[in-house]
Symmetry: C2
Subunit: 319 residues, 2 copies
C-alpha cells in the first residue's frame, strides 16, 4: 500500500468521482460517521458517492444516517474508512475487497490492503482524519457532516475518556462544534440514554458478574436467555463491554456475549499496562491496547476457562 | 460587586499575599479543582495560600487534594471559587462570608457578594476561568495544577457531555492535557469506576424507578434503607442524579435522596426546554437550566407529590 500525504488524499477526493465508501461489519459510530460524513462531503462538491456497509446499520446511528439518501452504486473509486483489514468486511462490501483504491484509517495494525493509504495511528478516531482531509482539500464541513464526524470522535473515545484521547481530539471536537455539530444531542443519544430494556439487562448483568485473580478480572456473560428475558436488542448493547472494567479494582474486564452456533463474542477492556490486544490475539482476534475483541466457540464454561486462562497468562506476564 | 477584567484578576494574584480560597459546601470537582489548583498556583509563585471548605472533602477527590498540604490560615486576602452565593458556604468558611475580596465564578445567578468579581457565565466550569486567569498572569500551570483544573472541567461537564460544553471547553481540556493533566486517570476515577456497593445500589434503583406523565418524568428515590442495604457511602453517589434522566423518553429526571430529619435532597435534571432551575426554585432551591437541586421536608409520599407536582406544572407550561 502506497502511503500518501493528507494533501494527496484531499486531492483524490477532488479529482475522482463516483465513489463507494466501505465500512466494516458490526459498524460503530466512527465507521458510520466517516462513511456517511465523507459521502455527504463528496456530494457537496458535486460528486457521486455512496456509503456501503455489509451489515445493517443499527437504528442507534439514525441521527446521522437519516440525513443521507443512499442508492445502489456502480462505483469507479473505492475508499475504505476505519477499516483495519478486509477480514472486517461483510456481505455486499466483500465484493470490493480486492479493489480498494484508498484506505483512510487510524488502526496501527492496518494490514495495507489498498492501493493507497492515509493511516494516522495517533488519531483517536478515523473521523478526526476525515475532518483534516476535508479541511486540507478546502471542502466545507456543513453541520450535517460535522454531526457525522462528531459522532465518530465521540463514540470512538467513549465521550473523550479513553486512552486514545489526545489534545488533538479535543481540538477536533471544538472545531466540529464550530462547524455546527449538535454535540449535545449526539452525546445525549450515545452517552446519556438508556432504554428500559437496557436497564433490565444491566440489572441481570449486575447479578451475574464473576470475579477472578483477586477481583482484578471481572467477567460479564450475556446469554441469549438474558437477552430474551430483558427484551434487549442490538441497539441496547452500546458500551455494554465497558461495564466489567468499570468496577473498582478491576484491571481486565471481559464481556462474553452468546451468539448463534456456540459462538461467544468476547470483548476485553483493560486498565493500566495489560494488553487487551494480546489477550484476544490468542483467539485470532485483535483491536487496540486497551480494547480488543475475538470470537471463541464452545459451551459457556469452556469459553470462560479459555478467556480467563488467557487473561491470567497476560496478567502473570506483567507481574 | 465591582466587575474586574481577567487581567486585573491575574494582577491581584501577583500583588496580594496570604490568600484564603473558599469552596462551597458539598464540594464538587469544580470547587475542589479550583480551590486546590489556585492555591497550588499561588504557592508556586511564592505566595501563602490555603484552600478552605466548610465540609469535609470526599476521598473521591483525593487524587487532587493529596497533592497539597494544608494548614490553618490567618488570611489577608479572601477569594471564593465556584461560589454563586454565600448561602453555599458552611462550617468554618462561614466566618469569612462578609469579607470576600475576590469572587471567581461561572454561575449566571452569582449574587455579587464580594468586593470584586470576575464572573464568566459562558464558561462551563470555573476551572476554565482559573486556567485563563493563570495564563493571563503568566503563572506556569504545572501538571499538578493542570490535574486539579482538568478535574474541574471534566466533572462540571459530565465528561464533556452536558449542555454547558462549548468549543472553548474542549480547547481548555486540550491545553490542560498539554500542561500535563493526567486526563485518562481523572476520567477513569470520575467516569469509569464503579464500586461494588454502587453496583448494588444501582440494582436497587433500577427496581424502584417510578414514571409519571407518560414516562416523561422518572423518579428515583434513594432511601436511607437502600443506602444501608447496599453499603453505599457518599463516595458512591457521584452522578447518581443522572440516572433518571438517562432513561429513553424521559425529559425530567428527579432523584430524591433521604437525609436526616425528614429532609429529602432533590436533584432535577432535564432534557430539552424544561427548566430544572424553575422546578427547584419552587422549593427555594436553584442551579442551572438543565440541572438544579433543592430540599423538601416530609414523608416519602409527601415529597413525591410535591416534586412531581412541580415537574408537571413546569412541563404543562411548556406545552
Amino acid at each position: 500500500m502506497k502511503q500518501i500525504t493528507i494533501e494527496e488524499a484531499g486531492q483524490i477526493l477532488k479529482e475522482k468521482d463516483n465513489f463507494l465508501v466501505l465500512m466494516h461489519k458490526s459498524p460503530d459510530g466512527d465507521a458510520v460517521g466517516c462513511g456517511y460524513g465523507l459521502c455527504m462531503a463528496l456530494r457537496s462538491i458535486g460528486k457521486r458517492a455512496e456509503p456501503l456497509c455489509g451489515d445493517e446499520i443499527p437504528p442507534l446511528f439514525g441521527y446521522v444516517t437519516g440525513k443521507l439518501e443512499t442508492a445502489e452504486a456502480d462505483p469507479q473509486y473505492i475508499i475504505s474508512v476505519d477499516l483495519a483489514t478486509t477480514n472486517l468486511l461483510s456481505g455486499k462490501a466483500l465484493e470490493y475487497q480486492d479493489r480498494i483504491d484508498l484506505c483512510i484509517d487510524h488502526h496501527r495494525q492496518n494490514s495495507g490492503f489498498a492501493k493507497a493509504g492515509y493511516v494516522d495511528p495517533d488519531s483517536a478516531s478515523c473521523a478526526e482524519i476525515v475532518m483534516k482531509i476535508l479541511e486540507k482539500a478546502d471542502i466545507s464541513i456543513t453541520p450535517d457532516i460535522a454531526d457525522a464526524l462528531f459522532m465518530g470522535v465521540a463514540t470512538d473515545t467513549g465521550c473523550f475518556k479513553y486512552s486514545n484521547v489526545t489534545p488533538e481530539t479535543h481540538r477536533a471536537a471544538a472545531k466540529l462544534m464550530e462547524y455546527g455539530a449538535d454535540s449535545l444531542e449526539i452525546c445525549r443519544i450515545f452517552f446519556d440514554t438508556k432504554t428500559r430494556t437496557r436497564l433490565a439487562l444491566e440489572k441481570m448483568i449486575y447479578e451475574t458478574i464473576r470475579y477472578y485473580a483477586d477481583n482484578r478480572i471481572a467477567l460479564v456473560t450475556i446469554t441469549r436467555e438474558m437477552m430474551e428475558k430483558s427484551g434487549a436488542t442490538q441497539g441496547d448493547m452500546d458500551g455494554i463491554a465497558g461495564i466489567a472494567k468499570q468496577i473498582e479494582g478491576v484491571a481486565v474486564g471481559v464481556t462474553a456475549r452468546e451468539k448463534d452456533n456456540g459462538e461467544y463474542r468476547i470483548s476485553v477492556r483493560t486498565n493500566g499496562d495489560i494488553s487487551a490486544g494480546n489477550i484476544c490475539g490468542v483467539f485470532g482476534g485483535g483491536g487496540h491496547f486497551a480494547a480488543a475483541g475475538c470470537s471463541i466457540y464452545g459451551s459457556e464454561e469452556e469459553i470462560r476457562d479459555k478467556i480467563i486462562g488467557a487473561c491470567l497468562k497476560e496478567i502473570g506476564e506483567k507481574n
